[in-house]
Amino acid sequence: MALFKKKTPFVPSGVDTTANAAATPQKEQPYALLGLKDDEYNRIREILGRRPSSSELAMYSVMWSEHCSYKSSKIYLRQFGEKVTEDMKKHLMVGMGENAGVVDIGEGWAVTFKVESHNHPSYIEPFQGAATGVGGIVRDILTMGARPIAVMDQLRFGAPENPDTARVVHGVVDGISFYGNCLGLPNIGGETVFDKVYQGNPLVNALSVGALRHEDLKLAKASNPGDLVILFGARTGADGIGGVSVLASETFDSTGPSRRPAVQVGDPFAEKVLIECCLELYAAQVVAGIQDLGGAGISCATSELASNGGAGMRVQLQHVLKRDESLTPEEILMSESQERMMGVVPKKHLKAFEAIVNKWEVEYSVIGEVINEDRLYINWGEEEIVNVPPRTVAHDGPVYERPVAYPAYQDALNANNVHVAANGNGLHRQNHNSSELAAQVVQIISSPNQADKGWITDQYDRYVGGNTALAQPDDSGMVRVSETTGLGIAIATDANGRFCQLDPYQGAKLALAEAYRNVAVSGASPMAVTNCLNFGSPENPEVMWQFKQATAGLADGCLELGIPVTGGNVSFYNQTGDVAIHPTPVVGVLGVIDDVARRIPSGWQDAGHNIYLLGVTKDELDGSVWSEVVHGHLGGRPPVVDLAFEKQLAEAIAAASEQGLLASAHDLSEAGLAQAVAECTLRFGMGARIWLNEICERDGVDRTAALFSESTGRVLVSVGREDDVKFVGLCEARGIPVLRIGVTDNSGELEIQELATWNLADLGAAHKGTLAELFG
């Protein structure tokens, strides 16, 4: 390799070399501007035994940032790996810590899935921010050796009536639609929530799932000395460099060079080609290790590959293909240009590697070599600009136990429940006024958060691939993995920020329970968990308390359900000024189904079926949609969650589904029974007659609670007459409370007895028109 051949005559380039760093220990460095604290900077000096060169400083600063090092969250994330039983690890092929966890789903297949945030870029430039969010998570999945097979998106926007919301909504949805559709990945679900707490800080989380044969698993490591390090895909440009540009300047004040733009522009076409190219490289077995380039770009990929592989690396930075010749070495190290991958290729496979990338017209360059030494050397021409132990950059960043404080507002918030709000009178209930109560049903199902999300999801391709078994508006997304046996997976994600604000520990468990239930009602068996923890500033002790509570809730919940967390992502600093968002831990549950043909529809399709409510309804309206939409209230304590019961319920659904007893199943969550009934009837336009009195009598609740309570552990199912006895017997044998609450019919109407009768066309128009009216 001609990577380091001496050229003559040698002309120093003026960059800050390691030699220069050793010779000028007193030189002032802008570490604070790069986000490093005094003690962090001093630790770098200690590690190196000198001041860092400006390139080294760039690498440490970005790799030790919150985003890359998880320095505030690490001590809490550990419990996801600790609160597990051997049984929970049984199906885990790769656990936390890698680009994404990998789960064995049987028949020689494995799947890998993960959810990640792209919140801040999506506020600055919603279209590109959201688009590159999808691109980034898909590359994580690809890196594991998997073919990405689907995406999902979890969105939180500000108040619908705020004029800025439309800008963000349009940009984000267009961006996800553009990037995901161009990649040819079906969008199989997601979440859309509007709340003013997200006004200046929308959340854009994206999930991707991929499938692979067991033997195709790839890891991000460089362990064999002599292997080549190859950067391929898009060229490196000035994307997402932001503040690092200050390094290139002599003075660090405002008269320095103009800051490079912090946004990245995505090219989904380049990524689609990169996916096919990588899959062909994997099939030909020419890469020994692979890493995608995301946050921190080349700094991250080189140091992680070397650190993971227990080896070192020698890199010639001038060999990086650039889009812009004016880039400095520091900027090249930091650039977050999209659609790039770094492969570790044994020399003997170079020819085969080149043939494949050339076929796909993907550009590449050999930028370095794996070495048998615990060192990462990076040269700029003949000059050495980085000379560090890779582990200190990639894995030994600072870890903080930040101060935690019980929020000053918490007790008052919890005390102000729906029974004492409104000056001690409690939120008014229209139990005795049927027309008012019926109006609340329509008000709620047409409110932006409860309305049909078709205006958004119709902008996403749910068909591509030909394997989508369930997508919107069903409870979970489901895709077939094996075309020969029908083996498939289901995924649902959930998070309720209002519940989490009231009680982050319970809130995280509730999100887990809901996602778990959504997977179960689709007919799949829940198997693994991913998460994206969206919180305010970790430097605020009250936020840190929320984080501590939520992670404990999630870890405890997973242990109770017996499904492990396989990976995730943390997003801090989601706030406007000092005001943090509601804690929003998005929880994704993955389930497996032996044959997707067995999946359960979420709505009613046949007349004359009986409708059963499984589970018990309590008067749980604190934090509910009813309290928000009808009363504009948030206070009290969220519903109680009983995970042992959720598990029992899921097993009962699975058993009933295996015996073919269920015509449909839909879980109850936000806005309770009223919402579920409306969705079941509108899904295929099947009418129904429902009665509430038996719920009220058996469970001792009033009509408001029967309709709108958000008690957990409840599912609505429809069952053909011929299966009635068998089904009820199955529930009773398993200790699942079961109550017949209605029948389906061809009336074209939904009747809730003694309350109201709605024409389905009208009800559908109310439920489906809202988002189009707001944003169309």
Binding site: Q128, A234, A238, P261, V265, D267
Partner: protein, 83 residues
Amino acid sequence: MPKIIVEVMPKEVLLDPQGKAVANSLHRTGHKDITAVRIGKRIELHFDRPVTEADVAAAQKIGESFLSNAVIEDVVAVTVEDN
């Protein structure tokens, strides 16, 4: 009818995937001397009355605030055409 033409281009330092794809295609068909291609928008604002200074100033403002996104694009020209 007179019109004001606002021209918007992607910022120089940012990736322009469209331009890149077109450049590649031109290279494949032999136009090797074209070193790069960048693609932006040409937006015509039509009027049915003579265009004033104030209109041009307004067009410039609309161009910067609405027709382009300042984070990723620049308004490179605002011109009047009368025919």
